[in-house]
Amino acid sequence: MTDRQTHLQNTGKFVAPLGVLIFFAAMALAITMNLWTTLAVVVVLTALLIFGEKRGFVETAYKMVEKNYKITVAVFVAALLLFPIALRGNSYFLHILVIAGIYAMVALGLNFQIGSMGQVNFAPAAMFGIGAYTSAMVSVHYGASPWLGMIAAVIVTAGMGVVFGFPALKTRGFYFSLVTIAVQTIFVLLVVNTDWLGGPNGIPGIPAFSLFGRSLKQTGNLFGMLLPYQINYIYLTFFLLILLIIVARRLYTSRFGLAWNAIEEDEIVAATQGINLTKLKLLSFSIGSVFAGIAGSIYAHYTSFIGTEDFDFNKSLILICMVLLGGMDNPVGVTLGAVLLTVIDEKLRVFADYRMLMYSVILIVVLVVRAQGLLPKRNRTYPGTEEG
């Protein structure tokens, strides 16, 4: 056994970073090439995953990464920082990356409810919208700094998460889903019919973030290379996304994550084991909403225009698709699902008519063929339960 471990450690030192680089190359290919290349990349990735899982390679890969955690993370971060610079020639590709990062944040938040607690929340887009509208209103109507807008968005969405979490205390399953559908519908109807919130015209002219006196909408210059302004937003999004992934992962491994899973299995049993249902359910909603709120704030100050069509029921469904495709209750998987679907979605702009059809078919196929998603959750390991 120790032989095998040292072997893993030695080969892993090169293989794990190499895998990271190959992944980035595949992503670059998927983003820059046409639709068919993107689909081919996705198919090859999926085939590799399923094949690798059958032969136990995926488990080996996880082990390799764990054994060489530091070097893999270092390579990953370096690649992540250089990736946008490599793509600087085309600001549209950079735009896709920003949007992917934003949706990944919302999907991570949604995962606390669908993935961890098994409650299908159909209102993530409404929470995303509440964050975006709060942030936009604070900075447009009151002229406050967009950063203050983001803080306001966090506070408001945390409160809203608690308010909408209350129905979840009394209901579950279909009733709960109906409550969230109602919330989603009410949100869109209220915004469209309220002139103060821009009504059907949306809110134009939202100011951009600025950092150290520099607007993030300014183009940058690095060693003579012209960098489009999207790069600023990419780094902001990536920074926050990684922060949120770390929070999500830590919550997953904590007792909260375990308790959420217990609630998913059986609420009554969980309650008899001394789990405080009220506290944990509200926590799940509140944290999920805050994630969506942060993402909404970035979205508002990035696109500088928001309207209700960005936050409707279809958007909620797309977000659910991301969580399911990526892998429920696995923050890394959810991020992967969000990035993949955003890229495919952008490539499908030409076939705008078929978008929702595609999402519904993906949802059904994933549910029938691979309900656990691309990267399924793994069993938790605690010190002392396994060798090492």
Binding site: G118, L178, V192
Partner: protein, 306 residues
């Protein structure tokens, strides 16, 4: 004014109630909410349009029979198509998830509803544009003295009552109907006394599909303009009505539909600027019911077992 509003509300309630009955029927047998129910009803409206305007079947029929039989045959045909679709839906998106987490059929039927909606939008000729529904039922008044009750409205109300009465007879008097009740009450016990559960499910889906087929015709006749994405709102209203009345209870579905319809009509009529908020009123009603009386008006409270 009040009189006209009451007629409006009753008509709206009729169009909701058949969809709500569909939800309750499927829920009773399967313990799952079939979310594509509203879209299936609108699919039926489009099949009527297909039969009347595109294949010119109706023109052929009207040459052979009187208008009443021609309409009946057309609508029956559309209902049969819809029932077939419902059975296909069961096979594709509900059956694979039996005995699995209840989250899966919920998501798969929502996705199936969207797929159906989009398929109509893409493949029906000019499917994304609003389509005028053929005016098969006359808009003339039945009695000169009574405004608001046209032949169309009268037939819609009568047809709804007739369908509910037929369903009542089917559920309570026939053997297969009693089996449906038995399966709804206790799945294991029903299987134990020799009821073929698969057969019961298929019969339920065929009956439900037929009802949705008729409802599609009534919805189309009432609105006279249909859109491919109307199914989304009808599904939501129908499900809401079923919940307000008590999910799984057929008569509750009718009560719930009327409650929601009256709430919508009266909010838009009597609250200043209320038209925009009519949709919200219905959902607020549902939220209140879910929070404070989740078993609905007529449903019975069930005790959760581990």
């Amino acid at each position: 004014m009040l009189y006209a509003q009451i007629i409006n509300a009753v008509m709206l309630g009729c169009t909701y109630s058949l969809v709500a009955i569909g939800f309750s029927l499927f829920f009773g047998v399967l313990d799952t909410v079939v979310f594509c129910t509203g879209d299936v009803a609108i699919f039926s409206s489009f099949s009527v349009v297909l039969l009347v305007q595109i294949t010119a079947l109706y023109a052929l029929l009207i040459g052979l029979f009187n208008p009443f039989f021609s309409i009946l045959i057309t609508v029956l045909l559309a209902a049969v198509i819809t029932a077939a679709l419902m059975v296909i839906m069961y096979q594709l998106v509900i059956k694979p998830f039996e005995n699995k987490s209840s989250l899966m059929p919920l998501l798969s039927t929502i996705a199936a509803g969207i797929a159906l909606r989009e398929l109509i939008g893409i493949f029906f000729p000019q499917g994304r544009n609003p389509r005028s529904f053929p005016e098969l039922l006359s808009m003339e008044r039945i009695f000169e003295a009574l405004p608001g009750i046209s032949w169309r409205n009268g037939i819609i109300i009568l047809a709804t009552i007739l369908i509910v009465a037929l369903l009542h007879w089917f559920i309570n008097k026939t053997k297969i109907g009693l089996s449906i009740q038995a399966v709804s009450q206790n799945r294991e016990a029903a299987t134990m006394v020799g009821i073929n559960r698969n057969l019961v499910i298929y019969v339920t889906f065929i009956v439900g599909g037929l009802i949705l087929g008729f409802s599609g015709f009534l919805i189309g006749s009432y609105y006279s303009v249909i859109r491919f994405d109307l199914g989304a709102s009808f599904g939501l209203k129908g499900f809401s009505a079923a919940v307000v009345g008590g999910l799984g209870n057929l008569y509750g579905a009718i009560v719930g539909s009327m409650l929601i319809a009256f709430a919508e009509v009266f909010v838009s009529a009597y609250i200043p600027g209320g038209t925009a908020y009519a949709g919200i009123a219905a959902f607020v009603l549902v939220l209140l019911f879910i929070l404070f009386k989740p078993e609905g008006v007529l449903g019975s409270r069930s005790i959760e077992k581990v």
